[in-house]
Symmetry: C3
Subunit: 433 residues, 3 copies
């Protein structure tokens, strides 16, 4: 080869390199854009389904309260969703994700995002905000059900603002924001058995204690059943929640644009579904055995209990493990309802068994299927978050009780909050039986 | 370099060119196919969610009418959706998109598409048809609520056919079809505050005027409240509509397969959500202040008012702007309800405040966030479309009134349309209270 | 060219080959990954919508039964969905897809999938399982409606287990599993007019015959109407089913990541929608003409009838053909309801007209639009599957009848299954009218 030939060949070689490299870069950028679009659209669609859980909670609770309080619970559920949306924007989001690695407290700052520099992101900032917001709203929805039929509207909404703007975001920052529970203890909670559901449950039980039971619920040492006024609506609510849970657990994968992510989401869907089914079947069989009657209300709670149980880790378990996790959630729900009554904690819709107790169960069972998680780490997370949420919620409820008051007057409670607070009735044309 | 070397090198160089070119072509076609799939599936999924708004309107209206007319409104909402589907196929779609650039009237032609030549398209023709069809059905759903409890079934469906086959398509062609309002005035209406919602509202107010109020609604100079018979259903309806609006506004981006589109859709979701939340909270506070009672019915209308307000431009506003736009929608709803009563315009479900008045507000506020829009351009669009839809609707209602008649007999109205027109009852087993 | 030059050139040439080949491989793998993600997410989202049909069936049936049985039907629908989920996992899935090509019986084996080797798959195994599971649940939901108000809970669930674990999977394996009906007869059923809907209908009619009509339904030779207790809920159910059908038919494309697939899904959406609309309008007009009153209940059944009719082939028909297919489904529904009454087959919710009769119609009309299908092949499939499902279901019902008994006692039936079997009421506070 003479020098000229070598030079020419070198040029070609260099040309090929450039061409290949440029092609690879372009291809890489296309792949990244494609993944960005997959992830973003996925988060939005899943978030949309989780948003609809607001309707699910609304229907479940409207169906399980007495008809004289059904319009009020409807007003509360649509209002709390709206309050949550504002608070996550004004405070919450930057509290969750503005925390330093291993830290305790995020930033107090209104959230905004330009979404200009998307080329480096896995998904759009706005889609992330949307998905977080609907999770936060879920937490607040749990509280409204437990305290129904006796709490005043406005103090409830004040608590909701504090819960969704401060309490939830601070504890969530410890795990999903990369704070100390995640960094130091390896606490693992995939989609929020503890962060979302037990948090809602702790806030609810604190409220139920401070608020006291409904008039007549525990008279003369007996538990007086106060059956739900519209069970088809309650069943619709449970179905909507079940639907929403695919978004809740599936969306928590936070990405969808690869073999691994799409496969993971699929497994999450299957595990989520069988856990709920197992919760239904366990409560169905148990209530038939214990009470000689299958109890629809407990079965609906069993579905939700199964769903909450699998939420801390819907990906790692084999299907048979997911079945057992959900089934035991159903057992817990069946057992917990009478125990709460023993302590005269009046939880109108079974929110505490389903969300708090199954939330703890779901979190503690994570190490069974996920090798990276440890029982100690899980326990620390459950205790730290539980303690933080319960104590802070309790203080807020007490503060509200001794300032503005949280409980409707006995007269208003007996009359029904719909007439008393809203001046209307949920079903004005139907005569009480 | 000798001749042979040069020849060989040339061959290689040519080879590289070919290889690179072929690769680039193939890559470009894959990118285009990927975008096509993203866009098409996105339109279908969003359209599916908008389709479900039919259920939302149905539940909202069935909950807000008196129970003696609840089955009839259910029949109307499912029938009007079906009529809309037929009319958009038979006439509407080609009226909207068959218009010449800057033109006034599209083509009268049954729609069909082969969808064979998809390689050049951004999304499939059938997905575009589907998304347009569900928007048109929304417009008709608005009318049914305002005129409930007194209009006859068949004349209503005749009007629906004219609205969805002619009135809506012609005005929509002026903007979304590229007709004169878009071409000459730069009128901007992203997802249809004017084209869908105000259009429905104008058709409704024309109908309400021609039809007159329900018997007993404005007796002896007093407004007689006729409370909704099933407020939990109405609340469910509002939640479903809120859900559907993500599809409505998000889907109107019409594309999803790029950084820009996916980011835009995300921002639309966030703005849509905060506008609705702001509408809820404004009406909640205002009704508490004005009436000393939080009013669930007005709050539900406030949610919808907030959503309609952000529909003309859900992308350009910053979040705080979207909050203000939605909040003011809530103010308008609260104020407009008593004003309509003053004029004895009987709008059973608050459709005119939410869809017409907030539709105008949302359209006029577009220039605040979108620099390309002008107040003049927006005003021209609002006036031209409003005038066209109102006058034409009014004429059609009058023509129907003086031919087949549009109003149920007084006897039938008092008996309830369910028994009179359908020969059944919505809730046959429940005694009136 | 001298030897050295040739050598160098050869090296470059080889280099280009390698580079091009590697690039092509990488690109091909990216394309395959992208298609995998599209297909998998599509199946999950569509499956999620089909899952929600459980709520649709629940609302439709709860609205169409008398209120004394509404809670029981709610319990049945959520329980049967759960049973189906377990059975498809434990037996069903491998019965469907474990069949040999052209075979008769699949494998008895609990299903599990590692989803590790996804690179060669079109979509994830778990997404496929999920989609199949929700289809199976649909079949069982059809049965619950027809037999409502008189069947005992536990025998019904035993039948459900056999239907979803054995009967459905075996017949589905003959077609979708690649068994003999597909291989030998070219039987074509795109989304399950026969496999899902007629199968549910055959199981229902067998049950209705063995179970007998409700007390008082056919007294003294007259048909005693037993109107649904909550028609707004029933209408909601129909809307949810309509929504779910986009997932049902669209998802049955089983792939979405190409021009062809996305275009096909779009056409399926349009055809599905117009068929349902046509079913609504036909029943609306026919009931008005025949009974002088538009009948909401029949119109809702007409929507479902239209949807079932287009399910066997939602892709091949032109829109006008889909309209005719759906419209004739509406005719069949209108005609079939009184005919069933003539035979004293008491189908509480019109499941047999909508799912069985329209299922047969939809299957037999496939060759009109799909050239690959033959009338003979379709007939063989309808008869073989119908015979298999009917005979087996009949035997199971009879076996259950003469062992545990399937019918509630007359006292319990008159009291209502809610009080008798569940010890509660669906609407405890509303006085019967």
């Amino acid at each position: 080869m003479n020098a000229k030939t070598a030079l020419a060949a070198g040029c070609f070689f260099f040309g090929i390199l450039i061409a290949t490299h440029a092609g690879a870069q372009e291809a890489a950028s296309e792949v990244q854009e494609s993944a960005f679009v997959f992830n973003t659209l996925f988060m939005l669609i899943m978030g949309m389904v989780v948003m609809f859980m607001g309707a699910g909670f609304c229907m479940l609770q409207a169906g399980l309260v007495r008809s004289k309080n059904a319009a009020t619970i409807c007003l509360k559920t649509i209002s709390l969703y709206s309050v949550a949306g504002m608070m996550v924007w004004l405070v919450g989001y930057n509290l969750i994700y503005g925390v330093e690695a291993g830290g305790l407290l995020g930033a107090f700052k209104i959230w905004s995002a330009s979404d200009v520099d998307m080329a480096g992101a896995s998904h759009s900032a706005h889609s992330d905000w949307f998905f977080q917001m609907v999770l936060v709203a879920t937490t607040a929805s749990i509280v409204s059900g437990a305290l129904a039929e006796r709490i005043k509207l406005w103090p409830f909404l004040v608590f909701t603002a504090i819960l969704t703007g401060l309490i939830y975001p601070i504890q969530a920052s410890w795990v999903w924001g990369g704070g100390y529970l995640n960094a130091e203890w390896g606490f693992s909670d995939f989609a929020g058995s503890t962060l979302v559901h037990a948090t809602g449950g702790w806030a609810a039980i604190a409220g139920a204690i401070v608020l006291g039971p409904r008039i007549g619920k525990y008279d003369k040492g007996r538990v007086c059943p106060m059956p739900g006024s519209n069970l088809p609506l309650a069943t619709l609510g449970a179905f909507i929640l079940w639907l929403g849970w695919f978004g809740f657990n599936g969306g928590s994968q936070l990405a969808s644009g690869s073999f691994q992510d799409a496969g993971a989401i699929s497994k999450i869907f299957v595990n989520t579904n069988v856990a709920a089914s197992a919760g239904v079947l366990t409560t169905l069989v148990l209530t038939q055995l214990i009470y000689k009657k299958a109890d629809l209300t407990i079965v609906l709670t069993g579905a939700i209990g199964g769903l909450v149980s699998i939420t801390a880790e819907p990906l790692a378990p084999a299907i048979w493990q997911a079945v057992i996790i959900g089934a035991f959630g159903g057992v817990l729900v069946t057992v917990a309802v009478p125990i709460l009554d023993k302590f005269k904690i009046d939880d109108v819709v079974g929110a505490i068994p389903a969300h708090l107790i199954c939330g703890i169960w779901g979190t503690m069972i994570v190490p069974w299927s996920k090798v990276e998680a440890s029982i100690i780490g899980q326990l620390v997370g459950v205790v730290m978050i539980g303690g933080f949420v319960f104590v802070l919620s309790f203080l807020v409820w007490v503060a509200l009780k001794f300032t503005v008051g949280i409980r409707a007057s006995a007269g208003n409670e007996l009359l029904g909050l719909d007439k008393a607070a809203l001046g209307l009735e949920a079903y004005p044309e139907f005569a009480p039986g």
